[in-house]
């Protein structure tokens, strides 16, 4: 006598039946697509494919140009965009002229300040060591005497 089927067996039968129907429907879709293929659509798809291949070649070229150290990071470097291929010492070297310029400016500033201090010190020393008291230079008559007396 026939025994009733177990629920799991019935479920598998239903799934298999669904799959058979589905595959026939999709086969019909493929057949219809092959029949109704438009030249315009085919041309557009071919163009899209060529664009994609060109993009892939571009990415590969950039990846190949990058140094091996960047290649070690694997897919993450590719996914994160095109990495900068300039080595660190070259980037540091590009900062060298700026550093020299800044050092030169600081040196000039230091020299100018020092020469001003030295000039002021010389004047102060001359005034203080002179026989005339500094107050003499406040006298208008003495200043006028110095102007007329100088050659």
């Amino acid at each position: 006598m026939n025994e009733p089927l177990q629920p799991i067996v019935v479920l598998r039968n239903v799934e298999a039946l669904q799959a058979r129907v589905a595959l026939r429907v999709t086969a019909a879709l493929s057949e219809y697509q092959a029949l109704g293929s438009s030249p315009d659509v085919d041309a557009r798809l071919r163009f899209a494919r060529e664009q994609a291949l060109a993009a892939a070649r571009r990415v590969r070229t950039v990846s190949a140009a990058a140094p091996a150290s960047i290649g070690m990071s694997g897919g993450a470097a590719v996914l994160g965009g095109v990495p900068d291929a300039t080595p660190w010492w070259l980037r540091l070297g590009s900062l060298l002229p700026l550093a020299i310029l800044l050092a030169g400016l600081m040196l000039i500033d230091h020299h100018y300040t020092r020469s001003q201090i030295e000039a002021a010190a010389e004047v102060d020393a001359a005034i203080l060591t002179d026989e005339l008291p500094p107050e003499a230079y406040r006298d208008r008559g003495f200043v006028e005497f110095l102007k007329t007396a100088s050659p």
């Binding site: 999709t26 293929s37 798809l45 993009a55």
Partner: protein, 189 residues
């Protein structure tokens, strides 16, 4: 890493189905072509270093995302509200429908088709195409990914961003809805 030829062969093998699947969803051939092109370029730019075996799943995911991006852009551009209920679909599972009725008839007829039936055959194919297009979006997506793109349940769930149970439910409902609609129109496969 996929070579140029492997990538080209892969794209050639999926491009027409990708276009059709997208055209079903966006109902605009030009937009579908743009979306497929966008997906192809994204795949080539970001994932061309992947092994060829991984490309189908990655491509389907990119295509689905590109399609959703298109809907988002359309929504912003046209200030239209996308009818989300379409994505959920009606609960038309046709639980009592006997799938065998469709298959039994088709088994009997598949070997008897002659060249004279070609016009009728084309009309049948057109009708099947239209019925697939009439499916709710999520059901159609699950059905096409699972059976046309031949992804397994887990891969389909991954592409659709849902559970495997949901994929099975969507597929089952889609098959029953298709079978019921085709049988109602007297179509056999």
């Amino acid at each position: 890493m996929a070579t140029d030829k492997e990538l080209s062969d892969f794209l050639k093998s999926v491009e027409k189905r990708a276009f059709k699947r997208t055209a079903y969803t966006v109902r605009n051939d030009d937009a579908a072509l743009d979306i497929v092109q966008d997906a192809m370029i994204r795949l080539a730019e970001k994932y061309a270093d992947r092994p060829p075996a991984e490309l189908p799943l990655v491509f389907q995911r990119i295509l689905s995302n590109a399609t959703m991006d298109w809907f988002r852009r359309q929504k912003v551009r046209n200030s239209l509200i996308v009818n989300l209920s379409e994505f959920e679909g009606a609960d038309d599972d046709g639980g009592d429908f006997d799938l065998l009725e469709l298959l039994d008839t088709s088994n009997g007829q598949s070997g008897t088709e002659s060249a004279a039936d070609s016009v009728g055959r084309t009309q049948i194919l057109q009708l099947i195409d239209a019925q697939v297009q009439e499916l709710p979006a999520r059901q159609r997506e699950a059905f096409l990914l699972r059976y046309w793109e031949e992804l397994d349940v887990a891969e389909t769930a991954s592409v659709m961003g849902c559970s495997e149970g949901s994929v099975k439910t969507h597929c089952s409902r889609a098959v029953h809805a298709l079978a019921k609609a085709l049988r109602a129109k007297g179509v056999t496969l």
